[in-house]
Amino acid sequence: MAAPLTLLLIVAVTIRAVLFRSSLAELILERVEVVSPLNAWKRVVEGLALLDLGVSPYSGDVFHETPLMIYLFHFMVDYAEIVFMVTDGLTAVALYLSIQTYNKNVFRKQKYALESDRYPADCLELLRSPKEMFYIPLKVAMFYLLNPFTILSCVAKSTCGLNNAIIALFILCTLKGSALLSGILLALATYQSIYPLTLFAPALLFFLQRLYIPVNLRRSSFWFFTLQYAFIYVGSLVVITGLSFFLLGSWDFIPSVYGFIFSVPDLTPNIGLFWYFFAEMFEHFRLFFICVFQINVFFYTIPLSIKLKEHPVFLIFMQIAIISIFKSYPTVGDVALYMAFLPAWSHLYRFLRNIFLVSCVLLACSALFPVLWHLWIYAGSANSNFYYAITLLFNFGQVKGPILISHFT
């Protein structure tokens, strides 16, 4: 399967290169749907310029990237386009390999279940054949690389692409069974933006399932493995944070990056629900609603883990979807990551009720975002309510989409 994948990579790189060289690149760089104050390329360049001037990048409120990102781009700022294209390719390859491994697991389980006659008679049509599962990894890679959201995110040089790559590599390492690498990559993903913390639970469940350790709170083997994995994770996180401290010599980056993510001071419009809500919030209730919105991201982890403990990969998909809908500064790059997983469950498509409606809603919203932004900001004939309405609709569609699929797993 190397040849079709290589062809896909070449096509994807060509599209991105063409767009990089066209005049659309500057336009896309400033679109608020594609970049947010957390991952805009303009702000990375600004942070590096501040560093050159001798001022700490975190002394102002423009730069919100982590110090390791400064370190990386200090050397790579001239090759930024190549870095982002390579990152996208890496993500696609990682997703391809992980879905391949997943499919092998699923097929093997199916074979054992079939041999032990565990399936009732009328379910036979749901069984999957190797033939139809053969092309799924390629479809996943294609869904990621040729997704317009991903292409826009790459051309805008948004560091969301780097975050996606780290999460994809984490998924790959988890599915391959390497707890050490998985812990380190999860720590790196958490360090970049705090929300991947919720992926700890599905990764843990996957490892427990793989090592045949029953998920029973009274068994010592469960605790033994959990503590091991938690130790790897927390240890890597501490090491990475300490490294960042020594890089710039101060803890300034913690309030600038993590404080910024949690307290949402910047109200730049984006495709999420937070900005207008907090722009129109009564000052008295601001803290309360910030807490409510942030808890909303984390609090589905435990119930979903309990319900979906037999399907950890699906749980990962659900968690990524929840993060990208409810995080404080979402962009289309986050949406693209979980959309890439959809072909993995293509056998369920005929049972989904509103798939047509949901996909129409998402398509229409994506088309209307730039239109209503132009009307508000440039033409002056609309106001912020129009853009806000489309934001609401987009998030409503996103919320309904993964839920639909989850009904049938």
């Binding site: 001037l53 001071p265 129109e280 589905y300 839920i403």
Partner: protein, 578 residues
């Protein structure tokens, strides 16, 4: 000697006293007033009043009894200085914008709106606390809304505002600078300002200050400058309070008739006497352009002439001394009359001039362009540009470009302090070398932020003001400046200390900017909260359903008729149907 004997006398007569109630003989203080009238080339008149009080005392010395006997120096300002340990205070209120290209350089420049900069004494421990209280107290003294000055519009310039009086201050932690471009000046501000004068508005030059005439002008600026200076004759530090009022009347350009002015026409009053408390009271009229009397005619004529080098130019003035009774003539009233005879030629172009504007379209991004002109034919000189931009316009310093004569001109010193949202504004200071006879353009891009709905002013679509940029420079002078400081020097030429002969200090303020920010809909808070919470609740509801729903096999329920029949049968106690 006289001082000492008075001391001894009082001591003997008062007997034992504790030092709190013993007041020394009043310190030496003097008051001077002057009015400079300069006819401008555009046909307008520039009138500049200056009132100076010099007092040989020390507000800031520790261990000494508090100064309590005020004579010429206003008590309200003296108490402010000692309470907040102020080393230097400069405050100005301006209505209108000074047009350098048409009017030349002003004696004392000021930006539109209110501007306040203060150097605190180096013994102050909490400068921010003192600053906050000081602005509130000054707001009360001048009836202005200076209480809007807070940490979001205060900056600490590192190089642009060096002390104008004594003081070897190099630590800019003790300097605070703030400007309120939106502040409007009116009679309410003029009245307390006039009250600070020793004679009030009852005698001397201050009787000319009638607000209905003063505010009917192109430019009106009133200022108070307090600084410690060194008096050559006393070898001691004394405090100087200068109150200045600059006004440009536009009777000609606003079409009010022929080019003829008198004090009565400009101020609707004439002068009847000098202020009795003043040691000198003079009126200067700039007649440099009129050596033979061919341009305009001045009456009453005066034999007194004075020459002064001010702003790099040697100017000749007709002097009228109001302390002499013959100035007022038989009618006991002095009304200066100026009648234009011919057309004035071209004005000497000011050597340093600047403009600023916002470029771009839409409510997302924009660009600030500052254009500085160096009109000197062969000399290049450096200028210090200071920009203070509010935090809601996010500057991107990597887009800063400085070009002179379409070539890149890298500044030799850049001090940039980025803004912290809702805490402090951006501060950008640059030292730029201006090539001779050239135009230098400084551009920087910014992004407009969306604010919380409570942070907008009641008229959000008016826009938000960005304070003027300040350009400070030592401009090479064509004429040698005098570095000696004498008591007889006219006030308008002694405001800025001259350190060297070949250049003079100039400060140019650019226009303030007005930028629009994107606004949310202010009528929508409740609706927004409801709708957003609805979407989140839909998500929550779907998840809840997903997580708690269990599937059971269910018997189809019997039709209604059968159920009713079974119900009746149960009551009767008869076996039920299938």
């Amino acid at each position: 000697m006289q001082w000492q004997s008075t001391d001894v006398e009082v001591n003997r007569s008062d007997g034992t006293k504790n030092s709190e109630t013993f007041t020394p003989a009043p310190a030496k203080d003097q008051f001077q007033e002057e009015l400079v009238i300069r006819p401008l080339h555009s046909g307008d008149i520039y009138a500049s009043f200056q009132f100076r009080t010099l007092w040989d005392t020390d507000f800031l010395q520790e261990g000494q009894k508090k100064v309590s006997h005020y004579r010429l120096f206003p008590k309200s300002l003296g108490q402010v200085l000692s309470k907040f340990s102020v080393q230097e205070l400069h405050i100005s209120f301006t209505q209108g914008f000074w047009r350098t290209m048409q009017w030349g350089q002003p004696f004392i420049p000021s930006p539109p709106g209110a501007e306040l900069w203060v150097w605190f004494h180096h013994t102050v421990s909490d400068v921010d606390g003192n600053w906050k209280e000081l602005t509130n107290v000054l707001s009360g003294i001048f009836c202005a809304s200076l209480n809007f000055i807070d940490m979001t519009n205060t900056v600490q310039p590192s190089a642009s505002f060096k002390p104008l009086g004594l003081g070897n201050a190099t630590d800019h932690r003790f300097l605070r600078y703030a400007t309120l471009p939106r502040e409007i000046v009116c009679t309410e501000n003029l009245t307390p300002w006039k009250k600070l004068l020793p004679c009030g508005s009852k005698a001397g030059l201050a009787v000319l200050m009638k607000s209905e005439k003063l505010f009917h002008s192109s430019f009106h600026s009133q200022a108070v400058h307090i600084r410690p200076i060194c008096q050559a004759s006393f070898f001691s530090k004394s405090w100087e309070l200068r109150q200045t009022l600059n006004v440009v009347f536009d009777h000609y350009t606003s079409g009010q008739g022929k080019k003829e002015w008198s004090l009565f026409k400009m101020f609707s009053r004439t002068l009847t006497e000098a202020c009795p408390l003043a040691s000198s009271s003079k009126v200067y009229v700039d007649i440099t352009d009129n050596p033979e009397g061919e341009l305009f005619e001045l009456s009453p004529a005066t034999p007194l002439l004075s020459q002064a080098v001010v702003l790099g130019d040697r100017r000749t003035y007709s002097v009228y001394d109001l302390t002499r009774a013959e100035t007022f003539g038989q009618l006991r009233s002095f009304n200066l009359l100026l009648r234009w005879k011919g057309d004035s030629g071209d004005m000497l172009r000011p050597l340093l001039h600047a403009e600023r504007y916002v470029a771009g379209f839409g409510l997302q991004t924009g660009e600030i362009h500052t254009v500085i002109y160096n009109n000197h034919p062969y000399r290049a000189f450096p200028v210090l540009l200071m920009d203070s931009v509010p935090w809601y316009l996010q500057l991107y310093i990597h887009t800063l470009t400085v070009t002179s004569k379409s070539r890149d001109n890298k500044p030799s010193y850049i001090h940039y302090q980025p803004a912290k949202d809702r805490h402090r504004p951006h501060l950008l200071e640059m030292l730029i070398q201006l090539p001779p006879h050239s135009m230098t353009e400084v551009t920087v891009q910014f992004e407009r932020a969306l604010l919380k709905w409570t942070e907008y002013t009641p008229d959000p679509n008016h826009g938000f003001y960005v304070g003027s940029s300040v350009i400070s420079a030592l401009v090479p002078s064509m004429v040698a400046m005098s570095t000696n400081f004498t008591q007889d020097q006219p006030l308008f030429s002694s405001f800025v200390p001259v350190k060297e002969e070949s250049s003079y200090f100039v400060r140019v303020y650019t226009e303030p900017l007005l930028v629009n920010l994107p606004t949310p809909d202010f009528s929508m808070p409740y609706n927004v909260i409801c709708l957003t919470c609805t979407v989140v609740a839909v998500g929550y509801g779907s998840f809840y359903n997903l997580l708690t729903r269990t599937f059971q096999v269910d018997e189809p329920s019997p039709p209604l008729a059968k159920r009713l029949a079974n119900f009746i049968r149960r009551i009767r106690g008869v076996p039920l149907l299938a």
